[in-house]
Symmetry: C2
Subunit: 166 residues, 2 copies
Amino acid sequence: MEFKETKEKFIQSWGVLGSSWGINKTMAQIHALLLITPEVLSTEEIMKELHISRGNANMNIRALMDWGIVTKSFKVGERKDFFFADKDIWEVARKITRERSKREIEPVIKILKDLKDVKGNDIEINQFRETVSALEAFTSKLNSVIDKFAKSDEHWFYKKLLKLVK
Amino acid sequence: MEFKETKEKFIQSWGVLGSSWGINKTMAQIHALLLITPEVLSTEEIMKELHISRGNANMNIRALMDWGIVTKSFKVGERKDFFFADKDIWEVARKITRERSKREIEPVIKILKDLKDVKGNDIEINQFRETVSALEAFTSKLNSVIDKFAKSDEHWFYKKLLKLVK
DNA sequence: TAGAACTTTCAGTAATTAATGAAAGCTTAT
DNA sequence: ATAAGCTTTCATTAATTACTGAAAGTTCTA
C-alpha cells in the first residue's frame, strides 16, 4: 500500500471513530492529520488535504483549540496562522476525557442529585428514587476516576492500570 | 415538582446524555422509562408514554434487547409482549461497555495494527508510524481495562476503583 | 488611512440520521 | 382454513447536524 493511501485510511478511520463518540467527523480528521504531520500546517493546507471548505476548517480547528489538543503557531516572515497537534497521546486522552466529563457528565450528575430528592411513597416513586440514586452513585464514582485520570501523570496512571488489569 | 414532571425530566436528561454518547435519543429514553418502572410495560404503553410511533418503539426496544439490557416477558392470559430493564446499574454499565468496545474500539485496533506496519524512512513516515503505534498501544490498553471491567463482578471492580481513586 | 492578507461568521444548502405509519408477516384460537 | 391480535419491516418524510462560500471583520504594512 502507498503511504498516501495508508495516511488516508488512518484519517478516515479516525473520523469514523470520532463520529461514534460524539466528536464530529471533520474535527477528528483534522486532528488525525495534524497528529501524523511532523510540521505545522496552515488552514489552506488542511483544506486542501481534506477537501473541506474554509468555514468548516476554521470552525473545527477552533474547536480543537478549545479542547486544548491543537495549538496555533507562527512562522517568521509569514502572516498566516499555522497549527500543530500535541503528539502525546496520554495528554490528549486526558484533555478529551476532562472536557467531555465537564460538558456531558457533570451536568447530568447535577440533575440526578436534584431528582433523587423527589417526595412520595408509591411503589413507583420508590423505584424511581432507587434507580436515580444508583445512577447518581455510579456516575459520580465514574467521574471521580475520570477526574483523577485527567490530573494524573502518565506514569502514575499507567502503573495503576497495570495493577488493575493484572 | 410533580412526580410526573420529575419523571419526564429524568427521561429527557437520559435521552440527551445518550445522544452525546452515540446512543440514539429514543433508545436511551425507552431505557430510562423501563429503568424507573417497577412493572413490565407493553409496546403500546411505551408508545403512549413517550409519544412515539410503533415502528420507532419496536426498533429501539429490539436494539435494547440486542445490547442485553432489556428483556422480553409475558403475562399469563395475554398475548402481548412486555418488557423490563435490568435494574442493576453496574451490570448495565458492563454490558454497554462491552458492546461498544466490540463495535467501535476493536475494529479500530485492528486497523491501527495494520497501518503501523507501513514501510519507509521519511520523516513523514516515521512520524506516522510513531503516532499510530502510540495510539494502538493506548487503545489496546484501554480495551483490556474495559474487558476486565466487563467481566468483573461489582465488588471486585468497586474495590479496585476505590484504590485507584484514593 | 488604504488596501492587502488573512480569519471569522453565518445564512443557506446538503448530507445524515431518526421517526412515521401503512402494509406485510407471524401466531394462536376456533 | 381463517380471522383476530399482535409484531416487524421499510419506503417515505421529518428532524438534526454538518458544510459551504461569500461577505464582513481584523490586523498588518507602508
